[in-house]
């Protein structure tokens, strides 16, 4: 069904859909995953939406500083994640956390990051949504600059290949990421090394406010693969099956030693870039309305409904359950203490060097002298 190409532009840019907006499956496609798995896709997408809803409220009420909405792109994340094993590597962007939820990262562990508290795996050092997990999947620490993780994914994949392992790396990024140095380096290296890496470009229409036609003069993003000798294809990013099948094909090709694939998933970010962004200033309302008709969750509900796995009542219940789960996670995270001052100074190096230790001690001494309770009971606890 999915036929990435090295050298046929028409094939590369032709968008492949399996599940159309009316919920119909493409002819000849049969669903091979279990009903439970289908419901897991659904629940994972709803969980992303619930996470967004709760985070928006938390941000608007001043309890967290920032979040990144995913409205409209849930199928990209879940479809791609479903094609990877737990021992594979994820090099995500900041709009990919559905991949973590799909694989069983607990919402509460994500909420600890949103609040930057003492149980945050990043110890409160990063902005919200910059997750880092090693269990149950290797969800590599997210950085804010775009494209830097792409050559890193190639390196991680190359290391696995050198050791004769069959794990692959998924490098996920948006349309803006394709203009970065990292994209160029990563595709260049992966092409030459035949690295077991899957490049997932989620073309969500805008890089903050810059529309796709101002991001590149090329015919989409998948076509860029040709210049690097990297197979590429374009899929409907609002179609969980299309994204899954394309990723699965690419993953299997990579595991077998074939090398990299570039997948462009065409989707649309129906919300802002972040909670600090108002997209109504640059996205025409009609465009959003058009995309709303192609909503990835709506179409998946129609599909599930036709199979007897979904009805409005059940959907509402799952939505409520997801909201309750995320809300409970947020409450736990909100009640968790902030990180200790020590976390400013640790993890810069494996061992704290003398000059940093001295700075920490001086900072603690000043806090103590000024009678600030947060100083850690008068001792620099490192």
């Amino acid at each position: 069904m999915m036929n990435p190409s090295l050298d046929d532009p028409a094939q590369i840019v032709a968008m492949k859909t399996i599940l159309d907006p009316s919920g119909q499956l493409a002819e000849g496609y049969s669903v091979v995953v279990s009903d439970d798995e289908l419901l897991h896709y659904y629940r994972s997408m709803k969980l992303v939406r619930a996470f967004d809803d709760i985070c928006l409220k938390l941000q608007r009420s001043g309890r967290i500083g920032f979040s990144i909405p995913n409205l409209g792109i849930e199928a990209c994340q879940i479809g791609a994640a479903s094609a990877l094993r737990k021992d594979d590597w994820f090099f995500p962007s900041y709009r990919d956390f559905g991949m973590a939820l799909y694989h069983g990262v607990k919402p509460v562990d994500m909420m600890h990051n949103m609040f930057g508290n003492s149980l945050d795996s990043a110890k409160g050092r990063q902005m919200p949504v910059h997750f880092s997990f090693t269990e149950p999947i290797k969800f590599a620490s997210i950085s804010s600059p775009l494209g830097t993780h792409l050559p890193q994914a190639v390196g991680a994949a190359h290391a696995a290949k050198l050791r004769g392992e069959d794990t692959v790396a998924l490098a996920s990024f948006g349309d803006g990421g394709t203009s970065t140095l990292g994209f160029h380096s990563a595709l260049t290296f992966a092409g030459v090394w035949k690295s077991p890496v899957v490049f997932l470009c989620q073309n969500n229409g805008y890089a903050i406010s810059l529309p796709a036609h101002e991001q590149t003069a090329s015919d989409g993003y998948a076509i860029k693969g040709m210049g690097y000798g990297v197979r590429a294809l374009t899929v409907d990013g609002n179609d969980v099956f299309a994204v899954r099948e394309a990723t699965l094909e690419a993953v299997e090709f990579a595991r077998a030693g074939g090398g990299p694939t570039l997948i462009e998933a065409v989707t649309f970010r129906m919300g802002g870039h972040s909670t600090s962004d108002d997209p109504s200033t640059y996205v025409p309302k009609e465009v959003v309305e058009e995309w709303a008709k192609k909503d990835p969750i709506d179409r998946f509900e129609k599909f599930l409904g036709a199979r007897g796995l979904w009805d409005a009542e059940k959907g509402e219940q799952i939505g409520k359950d997801c909201l309750a789960e995320i809300d409970a996670a947020a409450k736990v995270a909100a009640a968790t203490a902030p990180p200790t001052l020590e976390t400013i100074f640790s993890d810069v190096y494996a061992e704290i060097p003398a000059h940093i230790r001295k700075q920490g001690e001086a900072s603690f001494e000043l806090s103590n002298r000024l009678g600030e309770a947060a100083a850690g009971d008068g001792a620099f606890p490192l």
Binding site: S121, A140, S141, P151, L162, V348, A350, P353
Partner: protein
Amino acid sequence: MAIQTLLGAVNDALRTAMRRDESVLMFGEDVGLKGGVFLATGGLQKEFGKERCFDTPLSEDGIIGAAIGMAMNGMRPVAEIQFQDFIFPAFDQIVSEAAKLRYRSGGQYTAPMVIRTPYGGGIRGGLYHSQSGEAYFCHTPGLKVVIPSTPYDAKGLLLASIADPDPVLFMEPKALYRSVKGEVPEDYYTVDLSTTRTVLEGDDVTVFCYGAMVPVVEKAAAMAAEKGISVLVIDLRTLLPLDEDGVVEAAKRTGRVVTVTEAPRFCGYAGEISAIVAERAMEYMEAPVLRVTGFDTPFPNTLEHHYLPDARRVIDAIEKVYSF
């Protein structure tokens, strides 16, 4: 013990590390079959194969980005940047990624890797084959910056860098590659990072230096000795994290301090040494704390010998602080 050049010691260290640990990989531009433009990696591909010593496409960003990914996934990459002048496309990967990975992931992910790169003037390399960019990198928490000046230290510090759990920028003074020779043990050994080396004992003036400036300072110290000035010469060897206590101790011993670097002066490493001395040993100082550095200009080609600090300029500063 064999007598080796500094370049030979680098090659020896890489060979020793690769024999000892299969996860050590050496890669960069032209490092494979050719053995590097300076031949620092000569013979490694032949001994260890193309899987462990290999050429990369011409992208510093790609080299360092890939090295980070390899390090995250269990390898010990040693990446060569052909000239330090070419490192800047990888600045983002070094400064924002490798150096911050441990911190930003709460210690879940780390990038134990070494970036080797020849730096500095003295080979008529002009603007883009001569720079000393250590100050850019010493402003980066999470990174270690190491510069050897002898063959013994080159091998021992490089082996320590490869064994280190954090990313290390290992800057090799290309002017010394073939001009200094010394005894180098054949076996594995390390020289501890963040330690200084006393090059010459002395009581009157302390001179801090590193890399290619060490022999220049040694020459100046010999000239000073003829004039009856006894100079304590300290090779800093690890610029980050610096052995600050060692620096303060050496400064206090004479009360007269000069720091010599070939990099431009403004916001340079010599300024940091002056600041440390001012903050921690001011009451011991008998004279202004001086810097002898490259000029605050780009690096010239034809007149590079006039740009680079030489014994003439160093002895001038030594005499100034001595006679203050």
